[in-house]
Amino acid sequence: MKVLVSVKRVVDYNVRIQVKPDGSGVMTEGVKMSMNPFDEIAMEEAVRLREKGKVTEIVAVTVGGAKCEETLRTALAFGADRAVHVKEEGEVQPLTVAKALAAVFKKEDARLFLLGKQAIDDDANQTGQMVAGLLELPQATFASRIELDGTGAKVTREVDAGLETLEVDLPAVVTTDLRLNEPRYLKLPDIMKAKKKPIEAVTLAELGVTPGAALKTLKTVPPPKRSKGVMLKTVDELVSALKAKGLV
């Protein structure tokens, strides 16, 4: 079974982002970039499925500019056999990304599409669902457990009410949530091997994709600041403060 895994290059989750004072966006120059943590979980799951003998080929894909190649090399170091780089500089919004990924999924004739539930930069949480909608495939989002057999998958999802289990026919789209797995640390030999694995570059035009009409960002500002709090010394002080505010 062939699995396609989509990965995104984002600002590292540990970075405290700075908003540019002119309102034009978030400072990303010179800032540490990494693979979106949810996509690392997707990569890890693909590799585990192969280790269990359920999956035979893993192809990684990304939509983005030239620098995104490093993210594909990370995917290859995880264990992807080869990668596809849909080269597009600048911001690409989820609908356009989904159209590109849907085209790659069809071209690759894969059975399972794995990707993170959301990217930690735009927090959109749309791409996987959009690919499923465009291709009329089943979708199982926010997965915390995946069981594959030849024709289908049983997926447990983290939802507001608890844990929901669905059965989906393959091919299907599954988006990953935090507790699906804990990604492995990449070892130097795998990172070195990754340098030799093939990456195929392709454009949106070559995939037959016209970018969708995009949202226009008018301005970006920091969130309203909370007023400074007070450090108390005793539980009695806390109880008085809360009573004074009418909270208890």
Partner: protein, 313 residues
């Protein structure tokens, strides 16, 4: 004039508390507001929806396949409703139901969705959070239908003083059979729902066990009539169930009072509580980032402080 369709979330005959907040967002956009409900047999839940202030019509879409909310089953029906009704806006609650469903519908309508609307500036202009809410963008949606999820913590529920008409609609849409509901593992609780509770007591990894959550957090929550939340670390460690997680990728809440116990305050956790009116933090580490956002901070041993607090309230 705008014509807005709110997709109502319901389960087991109860309307999700967030729907009243989505209606508030619809009011902020302005125009005629309809509310669609999907289920096998809707009954009383439609009457509750019809009371939401400002809703003109409640549309009931009843068929056996709608017994459970499956995105692949509901999406084609919503697309058909949109085409029939000529809606300009399609709004979903920012719940796991809405987040799962909305983008599938948006893609089928060839629309770039706006996720997690926090504020409305105009019929096409909205504020939304990025980078775990550490930056707020004002975005303008292009010409055409607007599809959006609404960040529930950013809106106040509309009153239940309306009287919309209720209509059963037949939606001519083929639905797939490739996705099947198997089960839901949920724990019923007498406790207020975390997403909508006025007061929330939350525990972090420092609690060190699920027994400690029961021993320390639950009595405090009981005393306050509060919901219970947790940090990702506490959930990952298995102390509490996944649906108690508060944060960037868990629940985003806006209670009157949020008490964070043994929670360090990682960026991702703070994303879930930025709109809490009053934040109290109890942590033995005076340098913990949670104290940067807390209105009241108490440095000390939670295993001493929490029982004392519970007793004195």
């Amino acid at each position: 004039m705008s014509k807005i369709l709110v997709i109502g979330e319901q389960a087991e005959g109860k309307l999700n508390a967030g729907v009243a907040k989505v209606v508030a967002a619809a009011q902020a956009i302005g125009g005629e507001v309809h509310l669609a409900l999907f289920g096998k047999e809707l009954g009383a839940v439609a009457e509750g929806a019809a009371r939401l202030h400002g809703v003109a019509k409640v549309l009931k879409v009843e068929r056996p396949e709608n017994e459970r909310a499956l995105a692949a089953v509901l999406a084609p029906q919503i697309v058909e409703l949109v085409k029939q009704g000529g809606y300009t806006h399609l709004l979903f609650p920012g719940t796991t139901f809405g987040k799962d469903l909305a983008p599938r519908v948006a893609a089928k309508l060839d629309v770039q969705q706006v996720s997690d609307i926090m504020a409305v500036h105009g019929p096409n202009t909205f504020e939304r959070p990025i980078y775990a809410g550490n930056a707020i963008c004002t975005v303008e949606a292009p010409e055409g239908i607007v599809v959006a999820t609404v960040r529930l913590a950013s809106f106040s529920a509309v009153a239940a003083d309306g009287s919309a008409s209720i209509e059963t609609v037949a939606v001519n849409a083929a639905v797939p059979t490739h996705t099947r509901y198997v089960g839901l593992e949920s724990h019923k609780s007498e406790r207020p729902d975390l997403q909508s509770a006025a007061r929330v007591v939350s525990g972090g990894r420092a609690l060190a066990s699920s027994e400690n959550f029961k021993k320390y957090i639950e009595p405090l929550a009981d005393k306050l009539g509060a919901g219970i939340g947790a940090s990702r670390a506490a959930v990952d460690s298995g102390y509490v169930p996944n649906d108690w997680q508060v944060g960037q990728t868990g629940k985003i809440i806006a209670p009157e009072l949020y008490i964070a116990i043994g929670i360090s305050g990682a960026i991702q956790h703070l994303a879930g509580i930025k709109d809490a009116k009053t934040i109290v933090a109890i942590n033995k580490d005076a340098e913990a980032p949670i104290f940067e956002v807390a209105d009241y901070g108490l440095v000390g041993d939670l295993f001493q402080i929490v029982p004392e607090l519970t007793a004195k309230l």
